[in-house]
Symmetry: C2
Subunit: 98 residues, 2 copies
DNA sequence: TGAACAATTGAATATATATTCAATTGTTCA
DNA sequence: TGAACAATTGAATATATATTCAATTGTTCA
């Protein structure tokens, strides 16, 4: 099955998708919410990243539809729902862990 | 199967891997060499990227062991050999093309 | 209502990255 | 050998990105 040379537009989208996973903090955030959904303060504390930084990352991940937000009172819980995204991410992790 | 929260070090490696695919030019280069191996000039012409830029990208991809170089006379041919890498990349492409 | 807390936002800043340009290296072949 | 071409390299530059800080928004509950 051949993927022909991707046009600029498609390639830009593919790059954008992978860019979601291309930062250490985001990778740690994603690994944390894969197990179970987490709120911003929880992530901030577990990972040692300021709430602001976490929130900025979540905005990007939300825009890319990588994560979903669910508000519960004052807290906003984030999770990854799309199984394709989970599979893609875990495949990257597995490749590194060998 | 749970991936626990990744430590900084592992997360940095995962991020580094995905970063290989996080640029439009690199995505197009990779899509081009997936079909069959290509030399720098060929890539440069097909993609409209200077040879220098292609070469710089290839250096990064080589260092990440995403691509392999093979010299034939004056030309250097690049290819992707690791099936895990191919699968990871194609999975990203497929996700975008839906 | 207003105090307390969680989360978001925008601007500022520091750092990383992609690209270009010019010079250099490697290879072939007349 | 040396001309011709392919590829690489390093420095310069422009752009993108992550993080911080301070201010703001949203929600709860006494």
């Amino acid at each position: 099955m051949n993927i022909l040379i991707l046009d600029e537009h498609t390639a830009a989208h593919v790059a954008e998708l992978f860019r979601s996973f291309s930062d250490t903090s985001r990778v740690r955030i994603l690994s944390a919410i894969l197990g179970k959904e987490q709120n911003v303060t929880g992530l901030s504390q577990q990972l040692g990243i300021t709430e602001s930084a976490v929130s900025h990352h979540m905005r990007g991940l939300r825009q890319m539809r990588i994560v979903q937000a669910r508000r519960d009172g004052k807290e906003v819980y984030y999770s990854v729902v799309d199984p394709h995204i989970i599979e893609l991410f875990e495949q990257g992790v597995r490749h590194v862990q060998e």
